[in-house]
């Protein structure tokens, strides 16, 4: 795991806004990531360039009047009036699969290889300036001289605009969401002589063991607490979380002091804080972030004897009284509950309403929170209702392997016509994959006739398509695989013990709202909803696996173990035991929660420093 931010960088110095490009482990052909607004449009062919330089973009805008689109989100076609039947001017054929209209003179000709191309003949006869034509059934530009489809931003914009004009979209005011990002080269920081003196005088030096990564320390099982240990190990090595705590952003002594004084002044009203669970630990205020801080100190102290996260368990039980039971615990539930605990305390102490969705309220949400977008589209008129929901992880259904991913791509592009049948015969021995789960998660799904939604445009209940996508990627993505199945009919639960393949390197680009929306509009090049493309351009969609929480055994008797990747070596954290493992063990493990971190980090200019 390459994480370029070295710990000493975290000084409260007025650092310039930096953009950290940590080198991805293996440089892959970055062929479809348009970070920083790269133009996805390939350079135009000479004929299209020539056409544009002579006519500008006006001819493309004029197309808006002849574009016919079958709702919702159907294929765009070109007809001057709705009943027009385009016929080839040379042979009179109207049924050929490819009929082109010359963009310059509107002459219609067919192109049906291996028959002689009348379109090409038209271009040759009238040349120059008649090479560019438009496919009347697909609203795509075609160069008759190059005999190839060509793509143009302004033409695509015209298609999307006329398609959008058909329906009202729940619009987000995109302008104030736009933020300009200034990129400054990453510069490593080294303390100068004065700073070094300052550092030396005010800190105790840790003994540094070279051959082991920092922070590996076993956690004692306190009696069925492997659910907690497994998640804690993952969190202790979540790079942004680790950097936050190790750089003293949440100092427990300071925090407790503040709270105490706050308490005396009666400023911090203990709304639910100790919940009547006793004395709150000898006058200390309950704060899970303080307990995390203590744990980070202990784990990164260089001590090798396993650590007992007893205080943390105690605080967490105080926080989540309903889960305070020694017997039945779920690692995922613990994860959600403790992030919530960190959030709640910080929130309460700040007296400020923060928007959770933007994830800058507390460290838990700044690291883990993303935003999901859910579109419900009326199948009659295409009206789309959009909602955004913050999330700290993504829970995925365990689904059978859906065949090769090429198949899922084509499913996606046809999504406008409703969900294609996804019960493809499973290849590859019916292996489920994380990518397959994500494909299912984001594919459009027809809501049943019993779940009709009220369409604001039709003013009646209509059948609808629902589609999820990711509006904002979290810094660290946690995927939770729903392995615990509950059947309400048979009144029983069971654990699904099926293997799920997960990649070490994951590209989330296909699941972003910008990608989903683009494919919904026939992959036209257009800044959908203004802010959508912006959001995706600013974030890297490449993720890298760094922790896997696994569950072995049955529903009522099982064990959680975490695999951690540190300095490109995998370690197995099984309560107090930490052992080195081969990556094959990890790849074949039965993942329950997978933690991925963004490979590249961007720092936004103008974003305020965390005040602590």
């Amino acid at each position: 795991m390459s994480f370029k931010i070295q710990l000493p960088c975290y000084q409260p110095l007025p650092l310039p806004q930096i953009s950290v490009h940590s080198p991805p482990c293996h440089q892959k052909a970055n062929h479809h990531h348009h970070i920083n607004g790269h133009d996805p449009i390939p350079p135009p062919c000479p004929h299209l360039a020539d056409f544009r330089s002579r006519n500008g973009t006006k001819p493309f805008h004029l197309f808006q009047n002849c574009l016919r689109i079958k709702p919702p989100h159907g294929r765009a076609s070109i007809r001057r009036d709705p009943s027009e039947v385009p016929r080839c001017g040379a042979c009179g054929v109207s049924s050929a699969p490819r009929i082109y209209a010359c963009v310059t003179c509107a002459a219609i000709s067919c192109h049906a290889p291996p028959e002689p191309s009348h379109a090409a003949a038209h271009a040759a006869a009238m040349a120059p300036g008649h090479e560019i034509s438009v496919d009347v059934d697909r609203a795509e530009l075609f160069c008759c001289a190059c005999r190839d489809y060509v793509y143009d931003r302004d033409f695509d914009a015209a298609v999307v605009l006329s398609s959008k004009a058909n329906y009202i979209h729940s619009n987000v005011n995109s302008d104030n969401l736009r933020k300009k990002r200034r990129i400054v080269e990453y510069r490593p920081w080294l303390p100068d002589i004065h700073e070094r003196v300052l550092v030396n005088n005010n800190s105790s030096v840790l003994s540094f063991v070279e051959d082991r990564p920092w922070g590996l320390r076993g956690l004692n099982n306190l009696g069925n607490t492997c659910f907690m240990n497994s998640v804690l190990q993952a969190l202790l090595h979540t790079p942004p979380l680790r950097n936050y705590f190790l750089s003293d952003k949440h100092n427990r002594y300071y925090c407790q002091q503040q709270k105490k004084s706050g308490n005396d002044n009666g400023v911090v009203g203990g709304k639910r804080s100790n919940g009547g669970d006793g004395n709150g630990g000898k006058g200390l205020r309950l704060c899970l972030a303080c307990d995390m801080d203590a744990m980070f100190s202990a784990v990164f102290s260089g001590e090798l004897v396993p650590y007992s996260p007893a205080k943390f368990l105690y605080s967490w039980w105080q926080h989540a009284a309903n889960l305070a039971s020694y017997e039945q615990q779920d690692a995922h539930e613990f994860f959600i509950s403790m992030l919530d605990g960190i959030h709640e305390k910080v929130e309460k102490d700040r007296h400020k309403p923060h928007s959770l969705g933007h994830g800058d309220c507390c460290i838990a949400h700044r690291v883990f929170s993303g935003i999901l977008r859910s579109d419900v589209m009326c199948t009659a008129c295409g009206f789309t209702s959009t909602t955004y929901d913050p999330c700290v992880d993504i829970s995925l259904d365990l689904e059978p392997y859906q065949g090769s991913s090429a198949k899922s791509v084509s499913l996606k592009t046809h999504s406008c016509n409703g969900e294609a049948d996804c019960k493809n015969s499973s290849q590859n021995g019916g292996i489920s994959t994380l990518i397959g789960c994500l494909d299912r998660f984001t594919r459009p799904e027809r809501l049943g006739s019993d779940q009709k939604f009220f369409c604001q445009q039709c003013q009646v209940r209509q059948e609808s398509l629902k589609q999820m996508s990711i509006r904002k990627l979290p810094l660290v993505s946690c995927f939770h695989i729903k392995r615990f199945e509950h059947s309400s009919i048979r009144k029983m639960s069971r654990k699904v013990d099926r293997y799920l393949q997960f990649p070490f390197s994951l590209d989330m680009a296909p699941y972003l709202s910008s990608s989903i929306l683009r494919s919904r509009f026939g992959n036209r090049v257009f800044p959908f909803d203004g802010d959508e493309t912006d959001a995706s351009n600013e974030m890297s969609s490449e993720f890298e696996l760094f922790a896997v929480v696994t569950h072995t055994g049955k529903l009522d008797a099982g064990h959680y173990v975490t695999y951690l990747r540190l300095s490109n070596q995998w370690y197995k954290c099984d309560d107090s035991w930490i052992t080195r493992v081969n990556e094959n063990i990890v790849r074949s493990a039965q993942g329950y929660m997978m933690f991925y971190v963004q490979k590249m980090l961007y720092y936004k200019a103008g974003e305020k420093q965390v005040a602590q």
């Binding site: 929901d389 999330c391 293997y499 074949s588």
Partner: protein
């Protein structure tokens, strides 16, 4: 868009097969044009990398399943990476934050449940001493037998096998309030 053997067919059949051919051709061009756009604009997924990950995982599973080169000595550890060995029940002793009594780490959770008056059994026998509680819950195995699923509290971690794609389902991981 050629239809063969037209001679043997009735004019009606010829016509319908002609239409069928046209429709089929048109659909093929639709798909081709979509794919062309995706490829030209670089919107296709990195299938090579996905395939490679799949291949590595499949290979890993074969390797791990093979007992001759098992990377792990079936769950039994000899020493950890620090050369240490650990008892099946952690024997560190510290004082309970709640009652101040010294407790063995490996029995802390059952003690604390009692001590804080939590859990189902605790309420029944809340008056018992913590020492008694320790003994009752003591187990020899380092492996934790526990249920990751409770019937009592939340249903949000359970997947309901039948309705897997509803809105509610995906709000699973979301935080409750902004």
């Amino acid at each position: 868009m050629s239809v063969s053997n037209e001679d043997n067919l009735s004019p009606h059949m010829q016509l319908s097969s002609h239409f069928f051919g046209d429709l089929l051709d048109s659909i093929i061009v639709d798909v081709a044009s979509e794919c062309h756009r995706i490829a030209r604009l670089g919107l296709d997924r990195n299938l090579e990398e996905e395939e490679e990950e799949l291949r590595l995982s499949a290979q890993a599973r074969v390797t791990v399943a093979d007992p001759s080169n098992s990377g792990e000595t079936n769950g039994k550890y000899v020493v950890d990476i620090f050369g240490q060995t650990h008892p099946s029940v952690a024997n560190e002793v510290f004082d309970c934050m709640n009652c101040g009594r010294p407790i063995v780490a490996g029995r802390f959770a059952p003690h604390l449940e009692k001590c804080m008056g939590k859990g189902r059994k605790a309420r029944v026998k809340a008056t018992r001493s913590s020492t008694a509680a320790q003994n009752r819950y003591s187990r020899g195995s380092p492996v934790s037998p526990y249920s990751p699923y409770t019937n009592s509290t939340s249903t949000n971690r359970l997947s309901n096998g039948t309705y897997s794609h509803t809105v509610e389902e995906y709000s699973n991981g979301t935080c409750e309030e902004p």
